[in-house]
């Protein structure tokens, strides 16, 4: 800090509240220090990216659609789904593109037979053990990689014992059925449901509830191996947990395991119809932060609310009021006292 007496280089003008303050300079964000470029070869094409770029971003920069399930721009990569693996020349194993950084001279193959086989296996294991019916993303990847989960046999019947599974105690199936995570839907509050029969354990909800956004830490992964599952502390119902119902877990869930009650009810009734839905971006009616809401409307009713992940204010996150506090516009009677406005 400079304590030296400075020269007063301006003539002090009196502060007059009636006169607007003159226009000043446009403030700028200090630029980040420039990053050195590295050259990588992706599927035979050489590209140049800034140092520190992930292989995922490098492949995307090369116009390649590398599949991801557990990766999201707003979350820290956890490397659990392995669907984004690519082959790097000289590397013994396939590497997860979402977190491996591009290095100068790297030669990367994104669509080799080894990569395709690995992705196909992952998707077969997932689709044979998890209900992926409400995950358009997984289903699209299944088509792309010619996945046939049915070869593992019919799925096991739902079990309500998964929350009690203990590490190290796992009963393997006899092979006649595909092991499955099917279990009853957890409906313990009036805002959202948890259908862990649809959960692929991507960890996104845990991260959004935890250090990457909400910092509430109401859920974590409990158990090990095939018995691993998302759980509140001691598997208590949500109202007894630390949950604050921000729904940021729903916002990042790629499979529909976490779902608004409003969406779930419509699906159950067979009336959920995305072709009849509109989505409109507006601003939350509550506090002054100015969160962008995307209102999903079907038949003049709000059926779901989320926020664009690329929005600089929300990064896709909302609070309980923004995500769920919209009933008041739908409870109004057709005509109110006082007559109409004309």
């Amino acid at each position: 800090m400079d304590h030296e007496k400075g020269n007063v280089t301006h003539r002090l003008q009196a502060v007059n509240p009636l006169v607007p303050v003159p226009r000043g300079p446009v403030p700028v964000i200090p630029p980040a220090s420039p990053r050195r470029k590295v050259r990588v070869t992706v599927d035979g094409r050489e590209i140049s990216v800034p140092e520190g770029t992930t292989l995922l971003d490098a492949t995307r920069a090369a116009g390649i659609d590398t599949p991801t399930l557990c990766y999201l721009e707003s979350l820290t990569p956890v490397n659990v789904c392995r669907i984004c693996v690519v082959e790097v020349e000289g590397s013994r194993t396939l590497v997860p593109a979402c977190s491996r950084k591009a290095e100068d001279g790297m030669v990367v193959k994104t669509d080799s037979e080894r990569v395709r086989l690995s992705r196909r296996l992952i998707l077969e294991f997932l689709a044979s053990s998890v209900d992926v019916s409400t995950s358009p993303q997984v289903r699209a990847y299944m088509d792309r990689y010619e996945v046939h989960p049915e070869r593992f046999g019919p799925s096991q019947a739902p079990s309500d014992g998964r929350d009690q599974a203990r590490a190290g105690v796992h009963i393997t199936s006899d092979g006649s059925q595909a092991a499955a995570v099917a279990q009853p839907v957890k409906a313990d509050n009036e805002l959202y449901l948890r259908d862990y029969g649809k959960c692929i354990l991507c960890y996104k909800c845990v991260e959004a509830c935890g250090p990457d956004a909400q910092n509430t830490f109401a859920i974590a992964v409990a158990g090990r191996g095939f018995d691993a599952r998302i759980s509140t502390e001691y598997a208590v119902p949500l109202p007894d947990s630390a949950c604050v119902y921000c729904g940021n877990c729903i916002g990042v869930c790629p499979t529909g395991a976490l779902m608004f009650v409003s969406e779930h009810d419509l699906r159950k009734a067979g009336t959920w119809d995305e072709s009849r839905q509109t989505s409109t971006e507006t601003i939350c009616p509550y506090c002054g932060v100015g969160c962008t809401l995307t209102l999903h409307i079907q038949d003049e009713k709000i059926v779901k609310v989320d926020s664009p992940i690329e929005n600089g204010v929300t990064h896709g996150n909302l609070c309980v009021k923004g995500r769920f506090g919209w009933q008041f516009v739908q409870v109004r009677e057709k005509t109110q006292s006082g007559g109409d406005a004309s």
Partner: protein, 529 residues
């Protein structure tokens, strides 16, 4: 907020009242920023703090002045910034002289060493953010409270630079926009002063009307005028003063005494039920087009996602229709046409065309023309050489305790605020079923609960000098002995504002919701065995 070294949250429980802002704050904290929280309650925000300063309600100026005095005494003030860009420093230095750390400890209850720590950390930080909310502004000396904080930023130069600034967090999605558009007594759109002849003339010419050359009343002034019979008709748009104003009894008396009360709202609020005429309105955020301005001055589009219920009209359509029937020719303009008129008359909004708002996802004012990107922060002009425009002024302010004094009859300090899942008088939030919600309860410290021999859930009579309410009690460890808390979310359960005082700040007109003197009495218990 994410690129700073120190954050002070003063009189704000942003964790619950501005949850998404708090995400950004926590990113800053996770990148190494220190967090100081100044709040009488050890709130969920304070639980994230490196240091919590649990001051007594209404002692903010004593604390801020002591911080200022300590910074000067330690020679940590930013002398070059003070000399180049400010005025009134000498007066300020003299004014804070009596506020020694020990004196401030006596008034605020915050240990002298902790005040010293705040002063030194703030002054030594390269970049520091000072944020506040209603804990600062809902006092009879609200404006002085704000001055006391601004003084600290001027003293240290923590203003007008990336990562350093003053951040009042606005509590409603368009309370900033209301001010931007001149919904305050002394300004026309774009904060252009109504008492400036040149500015007023510009609007008179554009609108072809005579504009009263003097400022009007603010809300509290209007209620005074109603009491004196000077204000006899009232048009209320989207506001529920019956439940939101301090001293509810007085507020209702005044509204009932009006010759004509017109309420325009989306729901039949308690205020609408008193009205002679109610105009049902469309919900501004999802049933009509327009813009709102956020806390960070970002003008953003709200869009119509669905039709309003039959008979409810867009606010703008109601206003224009009314004007047309009163003999003016306002036509029925679209939201964009009205906005373009704003752009013509308000220089700070001039560059914000709908297409730019669309493509940029909102623009932070000022935005003077269509090549201007908007401004991420204000007051950078104070760092120009030479300084652009008038210098920033220190405002010497003195500590004054809350108006509603504590005494033997009213020994407890009641403060009010929001809870996470609810909003204001509950007109909107009472309609969704939050699992977080519990019946409204008077929060007391466990120590006071024991002192008064109360059991959790027991209903008690809460009285202030203005009225009484019945509420069940709940023990809350975030409260210190002597402090109680209520929200205003459930006026039908606990009429909190029957208790509050309408002592208001003479400039802002804000009432002292944060400081009510109360007593708690057991409801006559059954005969003892």
């Amino acid at each position: 907020m994410e690129d700073t070294d120190l954050i002070i949250l003063w009189g704000s429980n942003a964790r619950e009242t501005h949850p998404i802002f708090f995400h950004h704050l926590l990113k800053g904290v996770r990148k190494g920023a220190k967090l100081f929280v100044v709040d009488p309650r050890r709130t969920s925000s304070a639980r994230w703090a490196d240091v919590w300063l649990g001051l007594d309600v209404g002692s903010d100026i004593a604390l801020a002045n002591a911080v200022g005095r300590e910074i000067i005494a330690a020679g940590l003030e930013n002398r070059r910034f003070i000399e180049r860009a400010t005025t009134g420093f000498d007066e300020y230095r003299k004014a804070v002289q009596p506020y020694s750390l020990e004196y401030a400890e006596k008034i605020t209850g915050v240990p002298a060493e902790v005040i010293r720590q705040l002063a030194h950390s703030y002054a030594r930080a390269d970049r520091a953010q000072l944020c506040w909310t209603l804990g600062i502004t809902e006092h009879h000396n609200a404006v002085d409270n704000v001055f006391a904080l601004i003084n600290l930023a001027l003293l240290t130069g923590h203003v007008g630079r990336y990562g350093s600034g003053l951040n009042p967090l606005r509590g409603q999605n368009n309370v900033q926009g209301g001010g931007d558009m001149g919904a305050i007594p002394d300004r026309l759109p774009g904060f252009q002063h109504v008492e400036n002849d040149e500015l007023r003339a510009k609007f008179e010419q554009a609108w072809d009307v005579k504009i009263p050359p003097k400022r009007g009343w603010h809300l509290s002034g209007m209620f005074n005028a109603m009491e004196e019979g000077k204000l006899r008709g009232l048009y209320v748009i989207g506001e529920n003063p019956v439940n939101s104003e301090a001293d509810q009894g007085r507020c209702e008396r005044n509204l009932k005494g009006l010759e004509f009360l017109l309420v325009q709202d989306i729901l039949l609020s308690a205020t609408a039920q008193l009205a002679h005429v109610v105009l049902p309105a469309a919900a501004g955020w999802c049933e009509s087009e327009g813009t709102v301005t956020s806390s960070e001055r970002r003008v953003q589009r709200v869009r119509k996602a669905m039709d309003p219920p039959e008979g409810a009209w867009d606010d703008m359509a109601i206003l224009c229709n009314l004007a047309n029937r009163l003999g003016h020719n306002w036509g029925c303009p679209s939201a964009e046409e009205v906005w373009n008129e704003v752009r013509r008359l308000s220089p700070m909004n001039a560059g914000m065309s709908y297409s730019r708002l669309e493509s940029l996802g909102g623009i932070q004012w000022p935005c003077y023309d269509e090549t201007h990107p908007g401004e991420l922060f204000l007051h950078g002009r104070l760092w120009e050489d030479p300084v652009v425009g008038p210098p920033a002024k220190f405002s010497a302010v003195e500590f004054e305790p809350p108006v509603d004094r504590l005494d033997d009859n009213f020994p407890l300090r009641l403060t009010t605020g929001r809870r996470l899942e609810s909003f204001n008088t509950g007109v909107q939030t009472s309609r969704y079923r939050s699992p977080l919600r519990h019946p409204e309860m008077l929060d007391l410290s466990p120590e006071d609960g024991e002192r008064y021999g109360l059991a959790e859930g027991e209903r008690v009579i809460v009285s202030s000098r203005r009225g009484s309410a019945v509420a069940p009690v709940r023990f809350d460890e975030s409260l210190r002995p002597g402090l109680a808390f209520l929200s205003v979310h459930f006026p039908d359960e606990v009429a909190t504002n029957v208790l509050t005082i309408d002592a208001t700040d003479p400039i802002s007109g804000t009432a002292e919701f944060k400081a009510t003197a109360i007593r708690v009495e057991k409801i006559a218990s059954p005969a003892k065995v």
